[in-house]
């Protein structure tokens, strides 16, 4: 299995340690272009872009290639971030995985479920990690930012944040940073019904690979990912503090609340169901984003003297 942290950071002694090369698919679009600038400004090593028809040109000082296989061959990059419109996502993602990309960050919103399932299957075959679709991406504060998140809410530290929502990930991380809880990684799994890396998988990757004091899980209504995670925390006896937030308590049933995945059918996907499962796993659920650091401080305080 490929290791997320080895892909993102590498090992001490690697010549590209903490400077892992990244390819941007759809680099010349308005969105892709803007966020390429932002990632470069953060220090992310963007080494190539791909836009069919524009191979050979440069954009933001980054060379553009016609195809992913050319870009991968030229740079040796194993990470790619996709900015193409949803209807072109499938072909862009297939091209990336077929070219040897091992970590694919899928930004587009509105990707059809069938296309997401197809990519999940292909990624399994290729032993690759897909994050998203409909994700803000991943940031390891101070080291690498692959995504569309602003840099300002994040600060280096030892708390991991996993989120189904973009702006809520920024909001919660901002609250944590202000309370002096920096982050070891902030991982946006995406707001769609099908996640390339589902919540439990993201959770396990982080607990095994990052230096953490605790994990904050930002969830929302829809599906049963939070319930499954709560059961998983119980089953695996995870003993570090976990604090959760769930958006959408006041949302009506059977209405899609912005995110394709945020919809309640009957009790399936309801906030009550998630909160009660979290209670069984001894995971407190914040009523509002600003409450997250307080609950975390409470949890951390219990185990040791600060």
């Amino acid at each position: 299995m490929v290791d997320l942290f080895e892909l993102l950071i590498g090992k001490e002694g690697d010549k590209d340690y903490k400077k892992k090369p990244v390819i941007v698919q759809g680099i010349t679009g308005k969105f892709g272009s803007f966020h390429t600038q932002q990632m470069l400004a953060y220090g992310t090593n963007v080494v190539a872009g791909v836009t069919p028809g524009k191979g050979g040109q440069e954009h933001e000082g980054v060379p553009i290639y016609e195809t992913m296989s050319e870009a991968v061959n030229a740079t040796g990059a194993k990470i790619s971030i996709i900015f193409v419109p949803a209807k072109f996502f499938l072909s862009a993602a297939v091209e990336a995985l077929e070219s040897g990309i091992k970590l694919l960050i899928a930004i587009p919103e509105h990707v059809p479920v069938k296309d997401a399932l197809t990519i999940v299957e292909l990624a399994k075959k290729k032993d690759a990690i897909v994050v998203g679709p409909n994700t803000p991406g991943i940031i390891i504060p101070g080291i690498i930012k692959i995504g569309i998140m602003p840099a300002s809410p994040f600060k280096e530290g030892r708390i991991a944040v996993i989120s189904r929502s973009g702006t809520l990930m920024y909001e919660v991380s901002h609250n944590l940073s202000v309370a002096n809880f920096g982050q070891s990684i902030c991982f946006g799994i995406g707001g769609d019904p099908i996640n390339g890396t589902p919540l439990i998988q993201a959770f396990d990757t982080i607990r095994n690979g990052a230096n953490i004091d605790g994990i904050v899980v930002v969830g929302e209504i829809g599906g049963d990912a939070e319930e499954m995670l709560a059961q998983h925390i119980i089953d695996t006896k995870f003993d570090k503090p976990v604090v959760a937030y769930i958006a959408g308590r006041a949302a009506p049933k059977e209405k899609r609340m912005g995110h394709a995945g945020a919809i309640v059918y009957g009790n399936y996907g309801s906030a009550e169901s998630k909160v009660s499962m979290y209670a069984k796993a001894n995971v407190p659920v914040a009523k509002r984003p600003a409450e997250v650091p307080m609950l975390l401080a409470g949890k951390l305080g219990k185990g040791r003297i600060k």
Binding site: K114, E121, S165, Y245, G258
Partner: protein
């Protein structure tokens, strides 16, 4: 997009799944003609995108013309769980021997399609007993799998043969039309051992609609929703008087929760998308101005990359253009917050440092006006 029963059944018919003879109308004039064609008795079924119609009296048997004149208008004006009747389906009654349950749905946790079937259908899925659950990857179902499921349900002979065919056709609909759910409940075995879909629920993946022009005719969007979609917003209309606007679905949901916790009544959920520009915020205010029930606007923007002044400009422009004349309670984190506060001084938009303060002010103001 959730299809109405008659729309789901038209898909079933197209794919060769047997359905009872039925006709759909939206007024009693057409209804009378349909009744004459079908002949009494039949069932009058409200077409609405919600479960529990039977219990609510939105599905009723009809024996003769006198009953028809009473029941048709009654069912036409039914409201169940907030959903109005959109049309009326008149359908021949079936001689039911046994009711089954069958569905194919997108299993989010397992990341594949899954069949749920039972020999004891006709009740809501939560109460369906002896569920047979079978994972089927991307949704295709071969004859062998279908036969296995049918046998587990206790079917044999003619009903089994028919069931195998129906399950495979339902799977074909799921795959070809990109449904998140295709459900037949009840699927009935009739007196002559034929198997017929007595109800149908199909939910199409909204994000796949760009590949399905043939399904557009089933799409029903309000003028506001259509405008919102064009701008890349998501809009859900609610019952209260405070419009809730923000960037990012999670953040807007979170704002809705906090507003409700504090006794406020949200009038809508409006997500303008991850970024926020002068144009998007201006368009959001324009959309809200079309909702009569709105008495105030609560704005929660996580700026980050966006400058608060770009958003303040949108508010000022909306007042100048007389798009809105409502109090706005805004929290926006991000660059140049002080400057934007200065810009908005004297306007009806109040800027707050935290969303909690903005919500308190909004709720107090709404209560003042009764």
């Amino acid at each position: 997009m959730r299809l109405l029963e008659y729309q789901a059944k038209s898909l079933f018919a197209e794919y060769g799944i047997p359905i009872p003879k039925g006709l759909t109308s939206i007024d009693i004039g057409q209804g009378r003609k349909d009744a004459a064609v079908l002949g009494f008795p039949f069932v009058i079924k409200a077409q609405m995108a919600v479960g529990g119609r039977g219990k609510a009296g939105a599905i009723q048997k009809c024996q003769n013309a006198d009953e028809f004149e009473l029941k048709y208008p009654d069912i036409m004006q039914k409201v169940v769980k907030g959903e109005k009747t959109k049309a009326i389906l008149l359908e021949k009654m079936a001689d039911i021997k046994k009711e089954l349950y069958l569905s194919l749905f997108l299993n989010r946790g397992k990341r594949c399609y899954t069949i749920i079937a039972s020999g004891e259908g006709g009740v809501e899925i939560e109460s369906v007993k002896n569920q047979i659950i079978h994972e089927v990857g991307l949704g295709n179902v071969d004859a062998k799998t279908a036969e296995e499921v049918g046998k587990q349900m206790g079917l044999k002979d003619k009903p089994l043969t028919q069931f195998i065919d129906i399950l495979q056709k339902l799977a074909k609909i799921t795959v070809e039309k990109e449904a998140e759910l295709a459900e037949i409940n009840p699927l009935a075995v009739l007196g002559d051992d034929s198997v017929v879909a007595l109800d149908g629920k199909v939910i199409i993946d909204d994000n796949a609609m760009f590949r399905h022009d043939e399904l557009r005719k089933f799409q029903e969007v309000s003028e506001l929703e259509e405008r919102a979609e064009k701008s890349g917003f998501s809009l859900v209309e609610l019952d209260g008087n405070i419009a809730v606007v923000g960037n990012g679905a999670g953040l807007v949901m979170s704002t809705l929760d906090m507003l409700s916790d504090n006794g406020g009544k949200p009038a809508c959920f409006l997500d303008v998308g991850g970024g926020a520009t002068t144009e998007t915020v201006y368009e959001a205010l324009t959309l809200i101005s079309k909702m009569k029930k709105v008495k105030g606007i609560l704005v929660n923007l996580y700026g980050g990359i966006v400058k608060t002044t770009t958003v303040a400009t949108a508010f000022l422009k909306a007042y100048d253009d007389k798009i809105i004349d409502l109090p706005v309670f805004a929290r926006m984190s991000g660059a140049e917050a002080d400057k934007s506060k200065e810009m908005l001084k004297g306007s009806r938009t109040k800027m707050f440092d935290t969303i909690e303060e903005a919500i308190n002010a909004a709720v107090i103001e709404m209560n003042k006006n009764g």
